[in-house]
């Protein structure tokens, strides 16, 4: 069932929104030029993952001698962080940053003009 959930410009301005459609809850995220949707249920312990905050991925570059000089932000990859215990999920792939086998459940999204719909 295709359900209207919001306006693309609103999602871009907010970074992400979360909506409940009856019993189901969906997070919609502005990623690049598009909108992606993830179910608001964390594969860890069922927390409201999409109601968390967005963070840039943290990386730790090494030099040629394999020495570390601390952590940095990756400016391209962003994570939604589940507010219950902090598990981080890549916005594009839905994969957990620590254990890629743990993934968010995707929701098909279509954008028509500025109208955003999800299939639930």
């Amino acid at each position: 069932m295709k359900v209207h959930v919001g306006q693309a410009d609103e999602i871009r301005a907010e970074g992400h929104i979360v909506v409940a459609i009856g019993e189901k809850e969906v997070g919609l995220f502005a990623v690049g030029d598009g909108i992606v949707g993830w179910m608001n249920i964390c594969p860890h312990q069922g927390g409201p993952v999409c109601q968390g905050r967005l963070f840039r991925r943290v990386v730790e570059p090494l030099d040629a001698e394999r020495r570390s000089f601390g952590r940095q932000f990756d400016e391209t990859d962003r994570h939604i962080v589940c507010p219950w215990h902090g598990l981080e999920f890549d916005l594009r792939t839905g994969r957990n940053a620590a254990n890629g086998e743990l993934r968010l459940r995707g929701v098909p999204v279509t954008v028509e003009g500025e109208d955003v719909y999800v299939e639930v």
Binding site: H4, V5, V18, N40, W84
Partner: protein, 405 residues
């Protein structure tokens, strides 16, 4: 086909979000699982006592310390709580703003008729369908390393009085384990004597971050007294980054992973090898907030070594693991579940059906909901009911039915 269904925006979670909204999914799960029909006892949840420190210091018995503390709180703005030795600038539990219920909790409690801590505890209990909870402090978990033993006595006593005379009488479902100023054995004895029969007191607590041998002779009168009360003694773990053994660890992640377990491993080793369960067979001990994975390790390690060096532990009549399984109880959180086979074996080794007590540790970053136990595929329904509530009811002598709302 497009449907005009009613959609409802859901708020992002901030430090101002109501506990019941943060835990809305736990509530939904509780309804689905029909937890209304289950007794759920949360062995370990926390309230941030340092927020109420200006109230607590009014209960300090020593008139000089009390006056200093009250002047301090009246005259300094933004100062950390008087006399507490916790490291207030190194609270990294929220992972840099990622887990906001452990950053600050500024939710609205206006219009409520009870203390903020009672409101927050009730909201979490409602969400997780918890019937009883034991409230533990947070910053005081480090009081055992206070350089002034006198201050542990004074602040511990003030907290015990504030809690038993003022806070927990506001809701009979809130319980406490009395803080023992363990670095002063005589004062710990007097504390146990003074508070043992107060309403809401269902046991005694030693905070595990301290360098005191739990087997020292000075503690024997205390253990005798506690054994006679029939109430358990709990060792509540915490972290201690300035412990020299953890000094090389550069992250909160690494330090916290070890520290919360290490302190209880040391105390448990002394507790068992020095024969405390043989000396006080009816004394019940609970090991709180170290998770479960350390227990099978320590059982095996102590059993193997004991066989080779029995002459160093002549008080024992059974294997160390037997005492750990029969005389000790364990709180469940943070329950390691990356390997369910290992967890299943752990539960078997500790006899979880009778010895394991569900704990949430709410509102801390590694909290577990009751679902952490309910979802285990290898545990029978009766065992789940035991772990979630009935074991605790039996251990603490509380009714095995849910309290009236």
């Amino acid at each position: 086909m497009t449907e005009q269904r009613i959609t409802r925006p859901l708020e992002k979670i901030t430090v101002r979000t109501d506990t019941r909204d943060i835990l809305a999914h736990a509530k939904r799960d509780a309804v689905r699982r029909k937890f209304d029909d289950w007794l759920i006892f949360d062995m370990d949840s926390h309230h941030q006592e340092s927020v109420s420190w200006n109230e607590i210091v009014q209960f300090i018995e020593d008139p000089v310390v009390r006056e200093q503390a009250m002047n301090y709180h009246n005259e300094r703005v933004g100062a950390p709580p008087y006399g507490l030795n916790a490291n207030f600038g190194m609270r990294y539990q929220d992972v840099g703003g990622r887990i906001l219920h452990q950053a600050d909790r500024r939710e609205d409690v206006s219009g409520e008729t009870v203390h903020r801590d009672v409101v927050l505890a009730r909201r979490a209990m409602e969400a997780m369908s918890v019937d009883y909870t034991i409230l533990f402090p947070v910053s005081m978990l480090l009081l055992g390393t206070h350089p002034q033993a006198h201050m542990e006595v004074q602040l511990g006593d003030a907290y015990n009085r504030w809690l038993t005379e003022y806070l927990i009488p506001q809701d009979s479902r809130l319980k406490t384990l009395i803080y023992l100023p363990f670095n002063s054995p005589d004062a710990a004895y007097r504390t146990a004597e003074k508070f043992a029969d107060k309403p809401g007191v269902i046991g005694f607590c030693v905070t595990s971050i301290r360098h005191a041998g739990v087997h020292e002779n000075a503690y024997m009168p205390l253990y005798r007294l506690i054994e006679e009360t029939g109430k358990p003694i709990a060792f509540h773990a915490a972290y201690h980054w300035t412990d020299p053994s953890l000094k090389t660890i550069p992250t909160f992640l690494g330090m916290h992973s070890l520290s919360f377990v290490w302190c209880n491993m040391v105390h448990m080793t002394n507790w068992i090898l020095q024969g405390i369960p043989e000396r006080f067979p009816a004394l019940k001990s609970i090991w709180v907030e170290s998770g479960l994975a350390w227990i099978p390790f320590l059982m095996q390690r102590l059993d193997d070594q004991y066989m080779m060096r029995q002459s160093e532990a002549p008080l024992l009549k059974r294997m160390p693991s037997d005492y750990m399984r029969e005389n000790c109880w364990y709180s469940s959180q943070p329950m390691e579940r990356g390997n369910l086979e290992a967890l299943e074996l752990t539960m078997k080794m500790i006899n979880a059906e009778t010895q394991l007590l569900y704990s949430s540790d709410w509102p801390h970053f590694d909290f577990d909901t009751p679902g952490s136990i309910f979802n285990l595929p290898f545990v029978s329904e009766q065992a789940k009911r035991n772990i979630l509530g009935l074991n605790a009811a039996r251990l603490f002598g509380l009714p095995e039915t849910r309290p009236e709302p």
